[in-house]
Symmetry: C2
């Protein structure tokens, strides 16, 4: 089985006007995606932000649940947050995955927008089930990953289709659905 | 097609010691599940809490996005939050659904714990695709719906299985996975 990694990028992402911005880290993103990572066999979850102060905040959140009061209050949260790593940017996460596995990860971006050559969840599930290089699944915050990121990756995953045209899920909800599909099939 | 409703119960639910408690309303639960409801054709999403002050808080959140500054800042959020309704308890939601549809809803609880007669996602998906009474899908906060609720419902949905024994998803993530399975099949 190929190793699966997840990264949540806070830069570079769009805001709603299409400007490239850096979003703030959301505490519940860290918790929810860490719990998903623990549930669906993700080797590590990278919170990527170039903002040093926000990395310090995330370190403090992790410490609270690892060795602080949270560690005895809720051990299941500690187990999940143990999968969280930090990186100033995507490339630092890629370099760390290469050091850990000996191989450069394949980069798979997610996007709420469709396009001509989207990778299906089933195809990525099949890749994960076979031997191969690690896969790094990229989620964007704000209004999504920028064109520069999408042009750099090996694949863009197909968007999650709803029952109608509405496609404005939270990144937490999108990560839940994608990981369930990758691990539990469809 | 049968109508699908969702309710998020803040009482009666367990805390981690097994005591029956009332949990606080989490702002991001309201947003995330409203956005899921809008994506996956849920007719209404009931936030149920007996605490009057918290119902006032939720009303204020909805108002912010409906007619306040949020309505022009992000119209997609307004569209999702228009599906949010409030009820002091499950029975008030049931009564309102009966008034709206002319039929008592079937009650389907969700639980992270397995059991002998769990309803599969596929079976509920088939029920929703056929004509029939409305279905009210119940999610618990805290450490889950109490035994009293589980004994009252018509069905309990099968738990979401991960890749290992860890089963501590956030209610937001669980709702995302369940609704995707009910609408997009498996």
């Amino acid at each position: 089985m190929a190793d699966l990694y997840v990264a949540l990028l806070h830069h570079p992402v769009y805001d709603k006007t299409g400007a490239v911005v850096t979003t703030a880290v959301t505490n519940l993103d860290v918790h929810d995606i860490a719990r998903l990572a623990c549930t669906f066999d993700v080797r590590a979850f990278y919170v990527c932000t170039p903002v040093h102060t926000l990395r310090r905040l995330v370190a403090r959140i992790i410490r609270h649940w690892d060795v602080g009061p949270g560690s005895t209050y809720n051990a299941t949260r500690r187990e999940a947050l143990a999968l969280v790593r930090q990186a100033p940017e995507m490339d630092a996460a890629i370099a760390e995955i290469e050091r850990e596995t000996g191989q450069l990860p394949r980069l798979v971006a997610t996007s709420a927008r469709g396009g001509p050559t989207r990778l299906s969840h089933a195809a990525l599930r099949a890749r994960l089930a076979a031997p191969g290089p690690p896969e790094l699944l990229l989620f964007g915050t704000g209004w999504g990953l920028t064109k520069d990121v999408l042009e750099r990756v090996h694949d863009v995953l197909e968007p999650i289709e709803g029952s109608g045209p509405y496609n404005h899920l939270s990144v937490r909800a999108a990560a839940a659905i994608v990981l369930d599909r990758l691990r539990n099939g469809r």
